[in-house]
Structures are given as structure tokens and as C-alpha cells.
Amino acid sequence: MPEPLLQARGIVKNYGHVEALRGCDFDVYPNEIVALIGDNGAGKSTLIKILAGSEQADEGAVFLEGRQIHVGSPFEAMRLGIETVYQDLALAPDLDGSANLYLGREIMLPGLLGKLGFLDNKAMRSGARKAFGELGVDLKNAQSAVANLSGGQRQSVAVARSVAWASKVVFLDEPTAALGVIQTARVLETVKRIRDRGVAAVLISHNMRQVLEIADRIEVLRLGRRVARFTAKGATIEQLVLAMTGGIAEEGAA
């Protein structure tokens, strides 16, 4: 096995008296789709939030390409090439697709006007068209507010936003939870394309069939710890469910 791209070791996170993570490990290898699964309350979302910088761990260490990193804020994560698609779509619904894609990374006009803070909307729009096109997203009206799009299109914008900027890892927290069949297939296709571009994708999902279909590897959390790892090829739904519910605890299996 190659060296892991991203490693989490012994992550502990408490919310008051609730222990969300109790010494959790997690590995992401280059060029893979790894599914992170577990029952409700296993700590999946908390782990992602810590790795993405929107929460801080109480204990533990995170390594990127072998070097220990400190992800103090989402902004730092983004600078490290780590992007996240949140469950609750972190989009500004009143802005259009291109404004959302470039939010926080606006292209400014060249010269003095740019220095004065003027946006280059034309450049951003054509960049957005390209980014959405790459993911097979067809926004009929690129100037329409995101709120006017369908759920699937909104999800596509959110995914495109993360993918466009990620150079190392993209976290996707239940990216297909609110979507119909066709849109789900589209988003999963997008996730595969992320991997094909050389970026690792971490997928949180409750849908075991989907996980087995798309993921290269699967890591299972239970009660704030990693309890099992599988290669997707050859794993069965029964095995995954057993691991999630505590039937087995085979850290490092497969």
C-alpha cells in the first residue's frame, strides 16, 4: 500500500459530557474513493468537521502527506487543498451559480479597477461554465439565483464548488441524501470524476449498496472509534452492517 495521503490518529472530541470521538483513526490514500460509514452518532460528521477545520479536536493529530498539520479553520483546510461538500449545502441561495463557485476566491478586474475591489463577473461566469461543464452539470440559467435551481442542481453547484478548488481531498457528507435517482447517479458520477482527476474523495453515506458500488475502500466508525476497514471488492452488506452495529471489531482487516 502507498503512504496515506491524509491520516488522523487518536482524535478525541467531546461536546460537554458527550464523547463524539474517543481516539478515532482514519486514513485516506491517494486516488481513491473511501467511504466512511457508521450508525447515527458514530461520529462521522464530527470527524469530517475536524478534518475540514470547522471544529477543533480536543486531542489527536492529523497528517497530510506524512507531515503533521493543524487545521485551525475551514480557510486553512482550503489552503491545504482540502474541500468539503456539507450536508446542509453551504451555498448562498440568493447569489447565482458563478458567484457561489467563486465565493471567497473572486476574480478581480485587472489593473486599477481590480485594486479598487471591482469584480470580473465575465471571467467568473465563463470559468463557472467550464467548471460546471466538466462535471456534466447543465445550468440553463447561469445568472439565476441558486435558490431557483432544483435540489439536484443545487447539489451539483455545491459539489462543483468543492471539486474546482480541491487539490488533495474532497469530503462529501451525504451528498445524495436529498436527491432523486437520476441526480444521485450524476453526483456519484461526479465523485468518480474527482478521483480520476487525482483527488481523493471521502464519502459519508448511509446507503450500503451505493457505498459498495462506488467506493474503493470502506472505513467503519462505531461509538467514536474506527472499528473496521474493508476493500470494497468482495465486501458484503452483511459484513458492513455487522461492523457498524458491533458484531465484529476487526481493525485493519482486509
Binding site: 451555498l91 448562498a92 447569489l95 458567484a99 471567497g104 479598487l116 471591482f118 469584480l119
Partner: protein, 363 residues
């Protein structure tokens, strides 16, 4: 098998639907043309509708009082009367675009006017002969006072996380009280006379009051900043989804402080315009400035929850109450009818905004 009888309301709706379908079809085919798309886009915003309302009101009053309403004198008076309010409403638009509110603008205006007037009034009665240097100093003091209150508002809202409604209600009381304490409740007179000359002057063949031009420039600047710059984009993004803005790496707290500081500074600017127009501090005249500014912003299509805002809308929103006031006065109604009408328009504006939001949430 049961057939569901359509209710009366349903059958009426259906009947209207059949009547209107040819119109709708023609509208839809028009909307597909290039010009049509622009019209459709325009009327998807509140600004176009209230511009229509403003035009209808003006034509109506002109019809009811021919030769009295749309006269050069009346239009000029109306424009001069809204100029100060427009400047604070521009700042209020930015604040409300972030999903906040600034109740303190009226008394920050008063406070800034008092400090500015006191600085310019240092020599008592002789101060009427003071020159431009003192006027400039007074201007800087007005801006500085407003800026300081604005920064205070911003820090309380962004850092201390006190809801904007309460934070600015608090600074409203503080600035009001301090203005009264500083002035002993007495209006200051005897300002440098060149201020009054400036406030009364007109440009373009003696037609357009200087203060109106200044207010228009402020509005144009505000509009450009809101719609074309990164500052405006962040303002709308924060109002639209503060968490998304934060996750996108925008320094939300700092931006909020800037926006409130801008609102305060514009109130200071408006205070200086007010001094120029009235050549006194007009202590008792600012109790409703904040509500008038907020009403104008909301009528202008800025969403109460933020994310959507235009300065053009706010400008029209400032004009509608003024037109109503002037029209009712000319027609011999009690001017309080304006307040009744403005209240109704305000509710209508918020209701249509809610409708639009609900409609798009259903998707």
C-alpha cells in the same frame, strides 16, 4: 371509485385560468425573446414593481391636482426633502443586506450634527464668519462621530453577538442621550454662514439643489459598490447565508463591522448635509429617521432576512412616502394619510417578499 368534486374556489380559479391562458401563452412567447427576457428579469425584482407604483402615484396626483403636483417647484422641494434620508438609507441598505438592522441612524445623525456644530461654533456668534478650514473640520468631526458609532454597532453585533435589533436600539439611546447632554437640549445656531449658502445653493442653471446632487452621488456610489465590487458581493453573501460565507473563508465579523461603520459614517455625512440645509442641529427632528430609512429599504425590495438588496430600490422606496405626503397635502387631506398609506405599502412589500421565498422553497 370516488370523484372529488372541485370546490368553489378551485372551479373559479380554473375558470380564470382558461380565460387567461391565451394571454399567458403570448406572455410566455414574448418572454423567450431577447427583449422579453430582460423585461421578465426586471419584473422578477421588487424594484421594477415599486417604480411602476411610484410612476402611477405621480401621474395620479398630477391628474387629481393638475398644475400643482408635477411642477418644477414641487419636484425640487420633494427631492431636497428626501436627500438627507436617502444618504442614511443607502447605509441602511447595506446593513439590511447582511440580514441586520441599524435603528441608531437617526440619533447618530443627531449626535454627529451636534458635535460637528459645536466644533464649528467654538467662537460663539463670530463663528458665522468662519472660513472653509473650520467647515472642513466640522465635516471631518461629523464623519468621525458617525464612524465611531458605526464601529461600536459593528463590534457589538459581530463580536459580542448581540442581535442587531437590540445592539442598535442600545446605541440609539446612548447617542440620543449624549447628543442632548452635549447640547443641553438647545439647538445650536450661528454656524459658519458658508455652510448655509452651500445647503441653499443650486446647480445646473439654478435648477437642482446642491444637496440633491450630493445625495444622488452617494446613491450611485453605493449602488456601484453593492452590485459590482467584492465588498458588495460579501455583503449579500453574508445576508444570504452567513455560515456559507464563513466556510468560504470570508472574514464575516470584520465585514459586518465595516458595514455598520459605513452606515454610521453615512449618518455622519447626512448630519453635515442636515446642518447645511437647516443651519441648525434640528434636535427634535430625527425621532423617525430610522423607521423612515428602514421602511424605504424594505419597500425598495431589500429582503428583511438579507441577501437581496438594491440601492435603486431604496431610492424609489424613499420617494414613495414623499410623493404620498406631498400629494395628500396638495389635495387638502391631512398629511397623516401618508403614514397610513406607507404602512400599507410596507406590509405589501414584505408580503410579496415572503410569497416569493415560499414559492421558491416549494421547488
Amino acid at each position: 371509485m370516488t370523484t372529488v368534486q372541485p370546490t368553489r374556489a378551485q372551479s373559479i380559479r380554473r375558470a380564470i385560468g382558461t380565460r387567461l391562458s391565451p394571454v399567458a401563452a403570448r406572455w410566455n412567447s414574448f418572454a423567450k425573446t431577447r427583449a422579453g427576457a430582460i423585461v421578465v428579469r426586471m419584473f422578477s425584482t421588487n424594484a421594477a414593481w415599486i417604480l411602476l407604483l411610484l410612476a402611477v402615484l405621480m401621474l395620479l396626483f398630477n391628474y387629481l391636482a393638475p398644475g400643482k403636483f408635477l411642477t418644477e417647484f414641487n419636484v425640487r422641494t420633494m427631492a431636497a426633502n428626501v436627500s438627507v434620508l436617502l444618504v442614511i438609507a443607502v447605509g441602511e441598505t447595506f446593513v439590511m443586506a447582511t440580514g441586520g438592522i441599524d435603528l441608531s441612524v437617526g440619533y447618530v445623525l443627531l449626535f454627529s450634527g451636534v458635535t460637528s456644530a459645536q466644533v464649528m461654533n467654538w467662537g460663539g456668534r463670530d463663528s458665522t464668519n468662519y472660513g472653509w478650514d473650520i467647515v472642513l473640520l466640522g465635516f471631518v468631526v461629523a464623519l468621525g462621530s458617525g464612524f465611531a458609532w458605526g464601529v461600536l454597532n459593528g463590534v457589538i453585533v459581530a463580536k459580542a453577538k448581540v442581535p442587531a435589533l437590540i445592539a442598535t436600539l442600545g446605541t440609539l439611546g446612548m447617542s440620543w442621550g449624549l447628543a442632548e447632554i452635549l447640547s443641553n437640549g438647545q439647538d445650536l445656531r450661528y454656524l459658519p454662514s458658508i455652510i448655509g449658502d452651500m445647503g441653499a445653493s443650486r446647480l445646473f442653471f439654478d435648477k437642482i439643489p446642491f444637496v440633491v446632487i450630493v445625495a444622488a452621488i452617494v446613491a450611485v456610489f453605493g449602488s456601484v459598490i453593492l452590485s459590482l465590487t467584492r465588498f458588495g458581493r460579501y455583503t449579500l453573501a453574508i445576508g444570504s447565508n452567513q455560515e456559507a460565507a464563513r466556510r468560504a473563508g470570508i472574514n464575516v465579523d470584520r465585514h459586518l463591522i465595516k458595514v455598520y461603520a459605513m452606515s454610521g459614517t453615512l449618518a455622519g455625512f447626512a448630519a453635515f448635509m442636515n446642518l447645511a440645509i437647516f443651519t441648525t442641529t434640528t434636535i427634535s427632528g430625527h425621532a423617525n429617521d430610522n423607521l423612515q430609512a428602514i421602511a424605504a429599504v424594505v419597500i425598495g425590495g431589500t429582503s428583511l432576512v438579507g441577501g437581496v438588496a438594491t440601492i435603486a430600490g431604496t431610492t424609489i422606496g424613499i420617494c414613495i412616502p414623499m410623493v404620498l405626503f406631498s400629494g395628500f397635502t396638495i389635495l387638502g387631506f391631512q398629511s397623516f394619510w401618508r403614514d397610513v398609506a406607507v404602512g400599507a405599502v410596507l406590509i405589501l412589500a414584505v408580503y410579496t417578499d415572503q410569497l416569493r421565498r415560499r414559492r421558491r422553497e416549494r421547488r
